[in-house]
Symmetry: C2
Subunit: 157 residues, 2 copies
């Protein structure tokens, strides 16, 4: 029985991952064809849009859950395109603060609107009641994962 429940949970994780990947694949393709941009670039701009005062490079990496190296490359490319600006941090003069430029903010606002429309279209096969139920289940799952992640020690090999 323990194995059955384990199997059920493993399948839940694989389906969670599959649904997320399916959605990201579709959004990735649309970002590329409609805006000539990538999901990581979009994610960097979204994180900066939510932080009007700017972010340090390490805080930005943390929010994106990528390595500092990748963030540096992404930010460098966005800076070259005039969409973000780096300045020496007022708090710590050895670190940089990154923020969107006005052009970056405008460009992101436009992409975010269209992005929201894509999300709605991509999920249009799910009726409102099912969407609400699935949302609730996912919210509950997230809280359960968070609670386990904080309390259960990592298993030993």
């Amino acid at each position: 029985m323990a194995t059955d429940v384990s199997g059920t949970r493993l399948r839940l994780w694989l389906r969670l991952l599959a649904a997320t990947n399916e959605m990201e694949r579709a959004l990735r393709r649309r970002l590329r064809t409609e805006f000539g941009t990538t999901l990581p670039r979009f994610d960097v701009m979204a994180a900066l849009d939510r932080a009007p005062e700017g972010l340090s490079m390490s805080e930005l990496s943390r929010r994106l859950m990528v390595t500092n190296g990748n963030t540096t490359v992404l930010v460098g490319a966005l800076e070259k395109d005039g969409l973000v600006r780096r300045s020496v941090s007022a708090v710590d003069r050895r670190s940089f603060t990154v923020e969107l430029t006005d052009a970056g903010r405008e460009s992101f606002a436009c992409m975010a609107d269209v992005h929201a429309q894509w999300v709605s279209e991509l999920l249009s096969g799910i009726d409102a009641a099912s969407a609400r139920e699935l949302s609730r289940g996912l919210h509950h799952a997230r809280l359960a994962i968070q609670a386990s992640a904080d309390t259960v020690p990592a298993a030993r090999a």
Copy 2:
């Protein structure tokens, strides 16, 4: 009303993403502390483990949905550690086939077992009936996303 349904769907996507990210964050941390490895490395090995005959670099990138550049770096590091091997493709002599070495296969088998145990632990707050229901909802959502992605043209900016 249309806006309400859009909002419900957007929230569904955010919760799907949040649950997946919560899970990946916990798995990422365990992979690092228990095996000194990263999720991208684990994913490369998982993809190769499912392809006993090996994969071309571009097919491997496609399955991982990352750029060829990232795959090259990951494969190079795994090769240095003796976990994968590259050989000239029998089909196309200009391209490489990547496959797990025996050491890589053993190492992955061990990590995969522990990984499955972590998944089960992390989802232990969800009872079997709820897990099954959520799995069904996610499977349905995935098919709906796939159908929309294939038929609905990308929205215009």
